[in-house]
Symmetry: C2
């Protein structure tokens, strides 16, 4: 688990979920309900949700929340989903949504990377004047 | 600039833009047109776009593309925008969209972090059986 800085307008959780019950990876309505439920139970305010079903398989779901966004992409053929939680300033909400995601999706394997986002990140990365 | 692995279903570009012309940070229609234009010129297929205007200021925009998603959050008070490009498998499309983003938004300062996403990322991060 990594955190670059505690002084950001945004905190970004990048989550890899593996060995997830297949229905979450293929059922768009279930994924939508699950994502919105995780956001709300984590303390976020859901504004709007987009779901897209790829052919032949795979889903993308994005939830705009008052605190920024939640995004998921699924690869049923790999038994895998990538989840992003981006919240402006409030790491406790990102953390709470993350805990809800683990509880709802019940992955057998998962990984988390935390990054701070904001102008201060320019100091730590490739930057050009 | 960092790349964890070349063997991922997804590549994720995390971009910090600073000192951007103010209209991109406050004008939802301009931001929507600009994001969709960058996606198309970068070779992606735009499926659906969501824009949200925060009060008193700030925008969130998410574009679902056939290759995954593009997301932006703006902080006009900080003269800053966070941009994410997530493309499944095709790093050349993420790179092309990134170049279009720089060309369109003309940030005076910017930073890029590249991450691979996928089950293989579990090997490099916190994981639990």
């Amino acid at each position: 688990m990594e955190t670059e800085s505690q002084h950001a307008p945004g905190v970004h959780y990048l989550i890899e979920l593996s060995e997830v019950p297949r229905e979450f990876l293929v059922d768009a309505h279930l994924l939508e309900r699950t994502l919105e439920g995780c956001a709300r139970r984590g303390g976020a305010q859901v504004i709007q949700t987009l779901l897209h079903q790829y052919s032949p398989q795979g889903l993308s779901g994005v939830v705009i929340i008052a605190e920024s966004h939640l995004a998921v992409h699924t690869w049923p053929e790999l038994d895998y989903a990538a989840v992003d939680i981006f919240t402006c300033g409030k790491e406790e909400i990102a953390e709470a949504i993350y805990q809800q995601i683990l509880k709802a999706f019940t992955p057998r394997k998962y990984a988390l990377k935390k990054l701070s986002r904001g102008p201060q990140a320019l100091r730590n990365r490739e930057a050009e004047p």
